[in-house]
Symmetry: C2
Subunit: 412 residues, 2 copies
């Protein structure tokens, strides 16, 4: 579980400011790991509104089922996140573990169990012993704080095979107030489209009703977490939640279309994109960060599917790992996407180097230049289809021997 | 290009009998490789009928386009297969190369260019210099034979990253005659559903019209090559062809539904399945041969998609490589397939060991037994959905560091 920090990690961690109405604490509940924190408790001020987007897996975790069930209530007073055990495919015991966790957290935070949101990440199929939260969450609630170090600790406590904590923050005007957005995420493996992170939580002191938050989140996830893939494997536990405490006291906003929300929505989108990129930068075994851009598709949805086909192709990803400007594999991945494509109109670039045009190798293409583009740490693969106006951009990483190594002995 | 022979290779190669009406020869055309054969010429008796199934890639190779174009003619007099260059994404030059190859082969075999079928496998996007076939194919036609060694040589000449040649044979009664079916295949990487081998050719001395052959092939591919996946990457060049010389002089059969075809069809299906399994046994870097069985799905098509989701999951495949009975990842792969599934009815077996039942870990499950099942070379992953009568069976291999190594420096 102690892999070297990804070479794609940011040089420094951002310092997150406090968000009024939110207090955080972490602890060692001993769920699975030893000698590290594995549980995060966030306590929210009364009236905090919540929104969420969850995995589309047909086999979701017990925690995902629980959150979906509580979300219509709209109000959140606590969030419990544990790492080490996903509490997925744990049957009746899994549901009981979630209910017990909610009761323990409710007691600690002084709220109803239905106001507690829960997320779990880690091994699938092992029963989660929620009695380990007894006492631990009460201590967390008592000691919870809001300093920058608590955010870093929160991001650390939810890591599994992540090699660095993922944090981002934005400050933006909303009507007559300045509001803060803080977000954390964890990722690493089992990361794929249709809710692509395993877990991410964003909190703001903005005053916004749950329905508005949900609309903003649904929109924001499209160009962020739904555009990142590590291995095409969709987790049972993917959870993205947005909490708004209302402490900033901004003007009331009743609709996601309200023009006063423009800057806030842009900041949220930007923060989600930053967190999603951090997830790709910490893909298991990642040595290269890859941006795939597709343009000229028949429409945006088609472009997205082609971009995902490229980003998920093991042959493209191993070629990137080998620093090989193997555009033939990009052609293959375009061809297998099942989307409209005309082989003889295709153009392909690695970085700024156009290697193929009009369905064949670019006559002016210089192998040395293409190779130089592949030696960079951040790689851009660009495909022009020449059919229409559809565009897409997705992020991924390379497929290395380290990915196989990490996943060949994760459980044991 | 010289990787150790797959540990999953058969102990011995089968000896293929002659097929009346077919002569074979191989040569070194120097397309890409040095010191090995890279071209196969098969010469067929007049009247030989042909059928084919090709890649569904939207970016097919020039050779695939050519074969599709000639197939309605129904008659085949020659087959040219080269390794080292796929002649895919080669634009106008690619079409010219195919036309030149057909003219050279037609001259050598004494037939019309439209009676020549062509397949190419290897690197994508590099122009294929078909002038290298000048003289070479004429020599092949002159020396072509039908002994068992010619079949082994044919299977060797079409290999790329394959580590062993793939051959199979059947002998079966068709009406009043005994007929022979010989087949060869090559695979290794870029192997996925929807025509899963790169190249496979089956020849028989049966007398069957092209339309009947096509119907039998369309049916046979479903439970064979369309049930094998190495990496989910669909080749631009996938080609499966069936040639029938008619030399066996069996009764005329006009319909694929003719009851006299029952044994022949069964033998063909069986031969295709054997070749498809050999492809999975030689997946790039493969150390384990994996059979995924799904039962209890709402229908067979749904079962197939779930089985493919499991067989293509990098996390399942790396777990198999690590001999880890990680059934949680099987749950994940079921969940992401997008098919009807009820988490709480799922059951999962590794070999004969049931590890999960009714949506949770099997209470009687013994980790040591499950681990023992994973240490075998041939692994069976079985999933019961408990919803209906749909079943599927697909073959794959594990995902190892060797796969990454092979594909990280294939081109360079």
């Amino acid at each position: 579980m102690s892999h070297p920090v990804s070479p794609l990690a940011p040089q420094t961690l951002p310092e997150l400011p406090p968000v009024a109405g939110v207090r955080l604490a972490t602890a060692q509940a001993g769920i699975r790991y030893r000698g590290r924190t594995d549980v995060l408790l966030a306590v929210f001020a009364p009236g905090t509104q919540a929104a969420g987007v969850f995995t589309r897996s047909k086999c979701p975790s017990a925690a995902v089922d629980w959150c979906r069930g509580q979300l219509p209530g709209g109000e959140a007073r606590a969030l419990v996140v544990n790492s080490g055990n996903a509490n997925a495919f744990t049957g009746l015991k899994g549901r009981e573990a979630v209910e017990l966790t909610a009761r323990i957290a409710a007691g600690a935070a002084g709220c109803a169990p239905g106001q507690v949101f829960i997320a779990s990440t880690g091994v699938i199929g092992e029963p989660l012993d929620a009695t380990k939260f007894e006492g631990v969450l009460a201590d967390c609630a008592a000691s919870a704080g809001s300093g920058p170090e608590t955010w870093a600790e929160a991001a650390r406590a939810i890591m599994t095979t992540d090699t660095f904590p993922k944090l981002a923050t934005r400050r933006v005007r909303l009507g007559d107030a300045e509001v803060t957005l803080n977000g954390i995420a964890k990722g690493a493996g089992m990361i794929a489209p249709d809710m692509a992170t395993m877990l991410s939580f964003v909190v703001t002191d903005a005053a916004l009703p749950a329905a508005v938050l949900q609309a903003l989140l649904d929109r924001g996830v499209r160009q962020s977490f739904n555009c990142v893939t590590i291995d095409g494997d969709t987790s049972t536990s993917d959870t993205l939640m947005l909490f708004a405490t209302g402490a900033a006291g901004n003007d009331a906003v009743a609709s996601a279309e309200d023009p006063r929300l423009r800057d806030f929505a842009a900041a949220l989108d930007d923060l989600l994109a930053e967190l999603a990129q951090l997830v790709a930068r910490d893909g298991e075994g990642a040595r290269k960060f890859v941006t795939v851009r597709v343009e000229g598709a028949t429409d945006d949805a088609s472009a997205h599917r082609i971009a995902m086909s490229i980003a998920n192709s093991p042959l493209v990803k191993t070629a990137v790992a080998g620093e090989d400007a193997n555009w033939g594999r990009v052609v293959m991945a375009v061809g297998k996407a099942g989307e409209p494509a005309d082989r003889d109109r295709l153009a392909i670039w690695f970085g700024d180097v156009r290697v193929a045009v009009a369905g064949a190798r670019d006559p002016d293409y210089d192998e040395a230049e293409a190779s130089a583009a592949m030696r960079r740490q951040d790689i851009v693969i660009r495909v022009g289809l020449g059919l229409g106006e559809g565009t897409a951009r997705v992020w991924t990483c390379d497929l290395t021997k380290a990915y196989v190594e990490i996943n060949g002995d994760y459980r044991s």
